[in-house]
């Protein structure tokens, strides 16, 4: 599983998320007049939208890590973060929309082309920020959450703009909102993948054995390596290494590999190490597993 495949999976899940969100959002929108207040209406609309987006994108980690246990937990955390974030995000976006539109409306009536798309895109972006942090919450990693939020922000902004201008340019489009949700999902998936890669401290590629070809992004400040599935770098199919054999720490932009089980050796470039500052091209051997540290 190279990082490219991971990006494609994120993109695909984003697409599916958009398609899944659409009917639910339409259903909620249809009953707007039945809600007692805008607050409740928008909170619910944001919650269902965010929960679906977050849930779908939350599957990515489980699928790409090949740790099946991460599928339900990723789904749950993604949906939870998305649900809360979607509600908060949509309300914040709505506040921004009304604030900006209200200011512009005071003076100008022809604001369809600028104010409306811009303020709506801000709304989408706020939604994206929260949807993006689900995986970080699941992994308990502030860094990952931050990366996801940045990805979600850019994705939401891009998706929102594309949606609004598609709507303006092609007013006869049958379901502009379907296109919009799909673009939003795709954009969040794409930017999530890009930012995740862009801010990672390199990649560990597995060279032999069951996980051969899989690449782990070093996207957290602390990542553990071992046979247990709870490790960020879970080498579950390998024997001869401890449940928690080693860990990677990022200090001032440098990545250090530390052996946690001195009885079982960890080798870098054929030499036993206790703590080692990694450089690109290093070959790591942990038990029967071989890992190659590379930039990309």
């Amino acid at each position: 599983m190279s990082t490219m495949v991971r990006r494609l999976i994120l993109l695909g899940l984003g697409f599916l998320a958009g398609a899944a969100v659409w009917p639910v959002a339409e259903l909620t929108l249809f009953f707007q007049a039945r809600f007692p207040t805008y607050l409740l209406f928008l909170a619910l609309l944001g919650a269902v939208t965010g929960a679906l987006m977050g849930g779908f994108l939350g599957l990515a980690e489980g699928i790409t890590s090949r740790v099946k246990a991460r599928i339900p937990s990723g789904l749950a955390w993604g949906a939870l973060a998305g649900c809360l974030g979607g509600a908060v995000g949509l309300l914040a976006g709505q506040a921004a929309l009304w604030l900006i539109a209200g200011l512009a409306l005071r003076s100008y009536r022809s604001f369809q082309t600028v104010v409306l798309p811009v303020s709506r895109a801000i709304g989408w972006a706020v939604l994206g920020i929260f949807v993006g942090c689900g995986e970080g919450l699941r992994a308990g990693s502030p860094r990952k959450a931050g990366v996801g939020m940045l990805g979600g922000l850019l994705g939401g902004l891009a998706g929102g703009f594309v949606l609004e201008y598609t709507r303006l340019l092609f007013p006869s489009l049958a379901f502009p909102r379907l296109a919009g949700f799909v673009i939003l999902g795709l954009a969040i998936g794409a930017f999530y993948g890009l930012i995740e890669r862009g801010l990672a401290h390199g990649v560990l590629r597995v060279l032999a054995g069951a996980l051969k070809g899989k690449e782990f992004l070093l996207n957290q400040n602390r990542m553990r390596i071992g046979s247990s599935r709870r490790n960020e770098i879970a080498l579950a199919a390998y024997e001869g290494l401890a449940e928690r054999q080693a860990q990677l720490r990022v200090r001032r932009g440098e990545v250090y590999l530390i052996n946690l089980e001195p009885k079982l050796p960890v080798l870098v470039n054929e030499r036993k190490i206790q703590e080692h500052k990694l450089k690109y091209g290093d070959v790591i051997r942990i038990g029967p597993a071989r890992l190659f540290y590379k930039y990309e």
């Binding site: 899940l13 899944a20 249809f30 005071r106 003076s107 091209g281 190659f292």
Partner: protein
């Protein structure tokens, strides 16, 4: 009892006098809508002379909402009511000065060569005294002049000295600028309030009727083309934006519609012959703002890009109504016209595909032993992966090599050779040049799965094919 007395009073009022009240929706404050579902309206009620009508109670007001501006809902319940609510708001003015040829005549309509007798001189003097009379530091003022053309001089700002100075920029028009685009200029003047908050007022100094170029010159206007502005246009714009128009008449010829415009926007017409009255314009406007009623109601939930609010007032002086809209669009926009079961298709399809994705087996499969090129720092490899043959595999710069690393000067023709030993079923690499395996220099070495071979900057992995 009180109610009955009020109704009686109302009937007397309606029957007993022809006097009218006028209502204008000075401001809609929907900033609390999201959190509390409430909207505040600042409503100004004036009599036919433009004086604020005080002492109305909440029963005199009726508020309804509409999504299209035509069909209005039932009356909304008043959640709050406060008379005299607009006390210390800043006011933004746009002063609009008639600069047609007749403004250079005397007040009685006769031509004059003496500047001090010209209407324009007196109008400028009136503007200066208006500027001097402005007392609130929150007030802002802008300036524009008009004849055949609309001439913006300054957007609303706080520097009154500057505005007074700009009056000198108003020059006597050329003969071809003899038309009076009053309605067009009022419409454009009302647009000068970009970004202004609080109360907005246009004070227009005029000495004659609307005299549009496109109608009387027999050809399209250089700017407005063949469009002829009607007096309803500034009215509609000002009502929607909450702008009040105060016309000041110079000379004998008046534009009759200015009375309508003033009344419909909650303003009042002044006569310039009475200088005392003119000096009181500013005070009047302030009074009117201070006398506004604040009405609070719960907004409806009907989906709409903009919601129209209508306020109807029943007072002893008569009844009147005014409507304005506020922005009610949501982030996701308006709902579909109808729902259908087909709507579920994308949701079900997406769930199915996502479920299939979780069933994906992404583990690598068993295959033949091979060499895989991970990356090349210099040059490029002829192929990304080659299977290892039964005897020997050559890696090198030569085109005849099994795996060619081209464009890398440090790579020899036959840089390294991988040999297969059928007895032990193992592969051994033999160096023909500088060779690194797992970043350690080697001459000969039995390869283990996952060994990383470096040939002059090309990184190659030995893959035994097992999983």
């Amino acid at each position: 009892m009180v109610n009955r007395a009020f109704v009686l009073l109302l009937m007397l009022g309606l029957a007993g006098s022809a006097s009218a009240v006028n209502v204008s929706l000075a401001q809609i404050d929907a900033s609390r809508l999201l959190l509390t579902q409430k909207v505040d309206l600042y409503v100004s009620v004036t009599d036919e002379e433009g004086r604020p009508v005080r002492g109305l109670d909440r029963g005199a007001f009726r508020i309804s909402e509409s999504v299209d501006g035509r069909r209005f809902s039932e009356a909304r319940r008043l959640e709050g009511f406060k008379p005299q609510a607009g006390a210390e708001e800043g006011i933004t003015f746009v002063l609009l000065i008639d600069n047609s040829g007749s403004m250079y005549d005397a007040l009685d309509g006769r031509p004059t060569q003496e500047p001090s007798r010209m209407r324009i001189t007196q109008a400028k003097e009136a503007v200066r005294s208006f500027l001097r009379s402005m007392t609130s530091p929150r007030d802002r003022v802008g300036l524009a002049a008009y004849n055949t053309f609309y001439q913006p001089l300054s957007r609303p700002g706080q520097d009154r000295e500057r505005i007074a100075g700009l009056l000198e920029d108003i020059q006597r028009p050329q003969p071809d600028q003899a038309y009076t685009e009053l309605y067009a200029s009022l419409t454009l003047g009302a647009r000068e309030f970009a970004g202004a908050e609080g109360r907005k007022a246009v004070v227009v100094l005029s000495d004659g009727e609307n005299y549009p170029y496109a109608r009387y010159a027999g050809k399209p206007h250089p700017v407005f083309k063949s469009k002829i502005y009607q007096y309803t246009e500034p009215i509609r714009l000002c009502q929607e934006e909450g702008i009040t128009v105060y016309p000041i008449n110079y000379g004998r010829e008046k534009d009759r519609r200015l009375q309508n415009i003033a009344l419909e926007t909650g303003g009042q017409v002044f006569d310039a012959r009475d200088r005392e009255e003119l000096a009181g314009v500013y005070r009047r406007i302030h009074e009117q703002v201070a006398g506004e009623y604040r009405l609070t109601y719960r907004a409806t939930m009907e989906p709409a890009e903009r919601k129209y609010v209508r306020v109807e007032v029943q007072s002893p002086g008569g009844r009147a109504s005014a409507a304005r809209f506020y922005f009610a669009s949501t982030v996701f926009g308006l709902p579909l016209a109808a729902l259908g079961w087909w709507l579920l298709a994308p949701l079900l399809a997406a769930c199915l595909l996502a479920w299939l994705a979780t069933r994906l087996r992404l583990e690598s499969r068993k295959g033949p032993a091979r060499l895989q090129v991970l990356q090349t720092r210099i040059g490029y490899a002829s192929t990304r992966a080659i299977p290892l043959g039964s005897s020997k595999t050559v890696i090198g710069g030569s085109p005849k090599a099994d795996l060619t690393i081209a464009g890398a000067p440090s790579v020899r023709g036959e840089h390294a050779t991988v040999l297969y030993d059928p007895k032990s079923r193992s592969y051994t690499i033999v160096a023909g040049g500088d060779l690194l395996v797992n970043n350690q220099p080697v001459k000969t070495r039995k390869l283990e799965p996952g060994d990383v071979i470096d040939v002059g900057g090309a990184t190659i992995v030995f893959d035994d094919g097992e999983v």
